[in-house]
């Protein structure tokens, strides 16, 4: 019983301690002109869906929930966001070469088709991010259109 008390105490100290480790937050005030939505004049329905299901990790602006301020949750989130942004950042779409846009569109389509995106852990917590069969088809069809136009 003593051991348990010590273990719990240590955990408490660690948990409280790591709260003081600073993490950078992915926040930006305005939407840049290079954003995917502006460059492509994306239809409203698709815009809304992409913002809810994708933009948290694939743009310069994340909507952080309350629990994201707690470590180690904050670390894991930042890790996901960093990786997401480096693979695809919708805010920088205009800066992508045509070649790169083509690659990204193909990846977007493939990831959605394979249900690899949005991440399961993300849609578990953000149920509005889940894509229904119809939504998947709409997004994929739209991305295909963009791809043809390139």
């Amino acid at each position: 019983m003593r051991v348990l008390r010590i273990v719990v105490l240590v955990c408490l100290i660690v948990i409280v301690g790591i709260q003081f480790v600073p993490t950078e937050h992915n926040l930006s005030e305005s939407v840049p002109e290079t954003d995917f939505m502006l460059v492509n004049e994306v239809p409203d329905a698709i815009q809304a869906k992409l913002k809810v299901s994708c933009y948290d990790c694939h743009s310069n602006n994340t909507s952080y929930p309350w629990y994201s301020r707690v470590q180690p949750v904050s670390w894991f989130l930042e890790g996901h966001i960093e990786e997401g942004k480096s693979d695809l950042n919708f805010n920088e779409w205009e800066d992508y070469s045509t070649r790169k846009r083509y690659s990204k569109l193909r990846s977007i389509i493939s990831q959605i088709e394979d249900d690899e995106m949005p991440l399961e852990s993300y849609s578990l917590i953000h149920s509005d991010a889940k894509l229904s069969g119809k939504e998947k088809a709409e997004i994929i069809s739209y991305m295909n259109q963009l791809k043809e136009r390139l």
Binding site: C11, V70, V73, R99, R106, S107, L119, S121, I125
Partner: protein
Amino acid sequence: MKKVRKVLSLLVVTGVTLAFASCKDGGNDDSMESTSSGMGQEGGSNEVSTGVMADSYGNTTAESVVNNYLRLTSALAASDQNQAAEAGRYLVADFKGFDKSSYSSAEQQELTDIVEDATEHAEHISKSDLGHQREHFDILSKDVIDMIAITGTERNLYQYFCSMYNGDKGGQWLSDTKEVKNPYFGSQMMSCGELQK
């Protein structure tokens, strides 16, 4: 005291669970079952001569890219995810050190775009499962073909196209042998490939 301990334990468990919940995807992203499994036991595979490894400090040339690209092609034809990932890593190094200085400024611009795109594909190849590697290989092949259109190559290469890949959109690749060894399907459809040039 008992109540406090219970609350604390609950907090710890919650915290750890949350942590694992968001951590789970990190490792599982690439564990998708590859649909085109089947180790191609191609007897006496024509091993491409050991590719020139990029000198990470020096400037790499198109030849190094071509060599490592061909290694990648062979690895995919053999359905060897590990070898393909390794070839991917070499290609990343090649692209990062790519020397564009001997080309015109218009060509350099094009090469910059090609290399930027190709690097990303090579990076993905170095850490994905076989199915994803092949998806990236498709576009990477186009990049390499476009690169060679500018840089040329000393090697004698054959360009193939298999229309069965990617829902009939097909995939292309370059090979240095006349024997068709399909990197998209491996042993499942080794000979799907039409010589283009």
